[in-house]
Symmetry: C2
Subunit: 305 residues, 2 copies
């Protein structure tokens, strides 16, 4: 089944202890689509300026990303420049130029409106709500958000929570949104406001999925070389939603496997700059990494006699 993603399509300039890249493909929708398209067809909605290297997106199009919803508007594309220090845990933003993204009003093409899986990447909650007004009865709607919207669009974000099935956010955002330091309590707070599932991403420390009655955890894959953490969270979401859309199975065991696929795809994202690694990986490599996750956490139960 198809997954629709609405989010940013940007140009990133990134510096890490291991090198730098200038004006490479970035933005939440790009990372999501690059990841999810390994698992299922993707429909992308976003906006770029007249300066965007549209041809570079052909690699995504070839792998089944439908770009019919990518608007090209008069003006400059969204550009982000950031730097990671040695610990790679948090990006230092050096420059943000929103460009045409600041006037973005997502228009979902008619042929995208019955997408069964919808991912509202990190954009203004007002726009996320506008997307929901345009789609017809998706089987699963998930959203992401960030500190800026939690602060500046709290009422809209709370409204959004009543209209999504699942939210992904990182630990800092979960604490900020709920004003609670304990993540279990933070998850309960969010679950009480609408979503049936809450995924709290902890970066290199893995991800929790909470439901009213269950908790599932997958670690981040222990890589020897983390090259550039940019986009890992969106690649996680792409793997997660991609797996669910591929199987069409929304049972609890399937959602757990989706978290593992998310973690696997997130681990690929950080091995190269931009979406580069997703241009290279094969079905066999994805399979091998999911197997490694299985070995990483699996144990046979032996209860005390």
């Amino acid at each position: 089944m198809t997954v629709l993603v609405v989010g940013s399509v940007a140009l990133d300039s990134v510096e890490t202890p291991f090198g730098k890249a200038d004006n490479v493909l970035g933005g939440s929708a790009n990372f999501f689509a690059a990841s999810a398209s390994h698992l299922t067809p993707v429909q992308l909605v976003g906006v770029v300026g007249t300066d965007y290297p549209i041809d570079d997106l052909q690699a995504l199009a070839k792998r089944g990303v439908d770009l019919a919803g990518l608007e090209q508007a008069e003006g400059a594309s969204f550009r982000w420049r950031g730097r990671y220090r040695h610990d790679l845990n948090s990006a230092e933003t050096l420059e943000t130029h929103l460009g045409v993204f600041s006037h973005f009003r997502p228009k979902i093409p008619a042929q995208f409106r019955d997408a069964p899986f919808v991912f509202l990447a990190n954009i203004d909650p007002r726009l996320q709500l506008e997307v929901l007004d345009q789609v017809k009865k998706p089987r699963l709607v998930a959203c992401d958000t960030m500190n800026f919207w939690i602060e500046s669009r709290r009422p809209e974000l709370l409204e959004l929570l009543t209209r999504v099935d699942l939210i992904t956010l990182n630990d800092g955002e979960a604490r900020q949104l709920t004003e609670t330091s304990n993540l279990v309590k933070a998850a309960r707070w969010i679950l009480a406001r609408g979503p049936k599932h809450v995924i709290i991403k902890k970066g290199e420390h893995g991800a929790f999925m909470f439901t009213e009655k269950t908790v599932f955890f997958a670690p981040a894959y222990p890589l020897e070389d983390v090259f550039d953490p940019t986009g890992a969270g969106d690649a996680f979401a792409g793997g997660f939603m991609g797996y669910l859309a591929r199987t069409g199975d929304l049972s609890e065991p399937s959602l757990k496997r989706a978290v593992v696929y998310g973690s696997a795809m997130g681990s690929f994202a950080v091995e190269r700059f931009s979406i580069q690694r997703f241009q290279e990986i094969s079905r066999e490599e994805i399979r091998a990494r999911v197997k490694e996750f299985y070995r990483l956490v699996s144990f046979e139960e032996d209860l005390l006699s």
Copy 2:
């Protein structure tokens, strides 16, 4: 089978956002013994001063902790005073008085010398080496250490690495010892210097066990109320070694389960001050928590077709 622990037996005064406790049982050997004794008989070697509330240790003795190696020396007991801020991630040490612990020279009683499992808790590596000179062919020797020894006793610590089967240390200590920020590389560095297994504890973010060819990970149990993190690492070691000593099984699957038992016992430690929780928990509660760990991380494999 029996596990021998050599470490500190202290009096802790702890302040957390949830309360305070003064002069309660603390120290690595106490936490280890309180945890491990739920799984297997424990022999404890340590030193206390004339001011120590020896009677309070009777609860441990009743649960199978042999205190024949606990020396009482003229002088004051080891006392530590610390405080945790709201995030509970790191203790702020307010006072440390080593007292009789500063002259401690472990003397292993004759009847403890053939202990099949030995845990060298966090003490001076010179003393850890002295313990190894006194014991006869244990099946498994594990040690812990800390930043202070990594800095001040590096040669002795490196010698110790050649004589132990396993080391547990936290992520910061692993980075400090190996001068490497990546934990996979840090683990390889340590494995190359002797131990067959390295356990890197990440506090609330779980624990990795590395061998030359495998990696295993167990999360910390997601508790809604973490009361006092003191002693969690030693309780982890107690659960880990206790499980191995109980089963006598040193196979890889058994070592993985031991990490889970370690995580389960660590999760109990933080639910109350001091070793209090270990005075309460039943076999049934331990079993239930291990089951919850299984549910927390287990998923069925489904590889892409």
